[in-house]
């Protein structure tokens, strides 16, 4: 029996779907498409999320959508969400101002396995807006640096103007205990860094000890196949490669089946999976929200 099926049916389970209030305390524009919201629970209590988990965020009259945390749980005074303007709800969230309230449910899902990562080299590979959930993990490692081995970040964006968290990127790059490799697919006149997709520096410049490295990968679905090929070519075990899957989560609790991947509920069993969990499961790395399902 699955965990979600063990809920007492006599219990009023509607409470699981009841959002609580959170207040917007800051908003920062990251790119033309992306804003970051800093939020606090109205109750003032800590949220206690894990890197890689997600939250259901709602606005009355617009709906509810899942958003991954982009802040580290080590920074306890608030939490941050990165919102892409892709539909009515997210565009409304772009209009929020400090002092406004939103509904939240969660945190949900299994994030990056921090206990398994401790003591190992952490290789993060981000494509596009995939940096948002990885920022949570990267800053967690930054705040507890002594608990981890090497910290390597490979980040590929389409254009320089679409790079997220530019201040963080600069800070990570300046750290002597971080190894950063940034690239863009389409350079502009002002760009002097690497060009090409993330798999190019991953293949050509990243040297790892595959026995002590765990790779955490978040990006567009097309990237996953090529990143997997490069990591396997470096001798990594499939069990040490973690992919975060994007799905249109609805309930967030493994009940509605909207995010079902064969026998897995991505919202509950993931969204972070080991590659070994995905091999043999159809559609595993082809996940994409169709245009008409975006909010």
């Amino acid at each position: 029996m699955r965990e979600a099926d063990s809920v007492d049916v006599t219990e009023d389970i509607t409470r699981f779907y009841q959002p609580e209030l959170a207040r917007v305390i800051a908003k920062q524009r990251l790119s033309e498409m992306m804003v970051m919201l800093r939020l606090q629970r109205a109750s003032g209590e800590m949220l206690e999320h894990q890197p890689g988990q997600f939250l259901q965020i709602s606005l009355p009259g617009y709906g509810e959508a899942p958003i991954s945390f982009c802040s580290s749980p080590t920074r306890t005074e608030s939490f941050e969400l990165c919102v892409a303007a892709v539909g009515n709800l997210s565009e409304a969230m772009h209009e929020l101002r400090p002092g406004d309230f939103v509904g939240i449910r969660g945190p949900y899902g299994k994030g990056f396995p921090l206990e398994d990562l401790r003591g190992r080299d952490v290789l993060c590979i981000a494509g596009g807006i995939g940096l948002a959930p990885l920022r949570s993990l990267i800053n967690y490692v930054a705040d507890r640096r002594a608990e981890f081995g090497r910290m390597i970040l490979v980040y590929g964006a389409r254009k320089p103007s679409e790079r997220l968290f530019k201040d963080d990127l600069a800070n990570w790059d300046a750290r002597e205990d971080f190894e950063t490799l940034y690239t863009v697919d389409e350079a502009d006149e002002g760009w002097t860094g690497r060009t090409g997709v993330a798999t190019v520096p991953l293949r050509d410049e990243v040297e790892i000890d595959p026995t002590r490295t765990t790779a955490s990968v978040v990006g567009p679905p097309v990237m996953y196949r090529y990143v997997a090929a490069e990591l396997l070519a470096k001798g990594m075990a499939e069990d040490d490669i973690l992919f975060s899957l994007e799905r249109r989560f609805k309930c967030g609790m493994g009940k509605c089946g909207h995010c079902q991947l064969n026998d897995l509920y991505v919202c509950q069993d993931g969204p972070v999976f080991r590659y070994t969990q995905l091999i043999g499961r159809s559609e595993a790395i082809e996940v994409w929200a169709p245009e008409d399902e975006r909010q």
């Binding site: 389409r158 567009p220 679905p221 997997a228």
Partner: protein
């Protein structure tokens, strides 16, 4: 059916590009080499690469229509190019130029053998990720690439014996 690491259409595009590079190299070498024997072997290999291209196009046309989801136009092609950039040649033009720049027949044969070996390595990987019904076709292509290597090595031995 298990979903492969790559979509079949992408794999076939890669295969077609690889064969086009091989064709350009063999045609360039065949045209530039003075020895009739060498030109014959390279011409034979070029003919087979041409047939492989047709084969892969036929396989691709038989696929169900599928659009690879991208977060921006051209994303898949960017990853595909990056994936192929580790090969001996980076493009058809590169293969042609390399063929023209080769100074002797032995060097041409060695490059051809390396090209064939990397193709076999690629197709061995491809075999793991295409449909069951297409594995036999890939096996045939791999077998033919092995024949190319054998004939190329025989040619190399013949040239060595002749000059010795």
């Amino acid at each position: 059916m298990d979903k492969p690491l790559f979509q079949a259409a992408e794999v076939l595009d890669m295969a077609i590009e690889i064969e086009r590079q091989g064709l350009a190299f063999y045609e360039g070498c065949a045209a530039a080499r003075a020895s009739e024997v060498v030109a014959t072997v390279f011409g034979y290999a070029a003919g087979q690469e041409r047939r492989h291209i047709e084969l892969f196009y036929e396989m691709k046309s038989a696929l169900d229509e599928y659009t690879v989801p991208e977060s921006y136009p051209g994303e898949t092609v960017s990853y595909l190019r990056a994936f192929l950039s580790t090969r001996l040649f980076t493009s058809v033009d590169d293969a042609s130029c390399s063929a023209e720049a080769i100074e002797d027949e032995a060097e041409a044969i060695e490059m051809a053998v390396e090209l064939e070996r990397s193709s076999i390595a690629f197709y061995s990987g491809v075999k793991q990720i295409v449909r069951e019904s297409e594995k036999g076709v890939i096996d045939d292509v791999i077998a033919e690439e092995h024949v190319h290597i054998r004939r190329l090595l025989e040619l190399k031995n013949w040239l060595t014996t002749r000059s010795g």
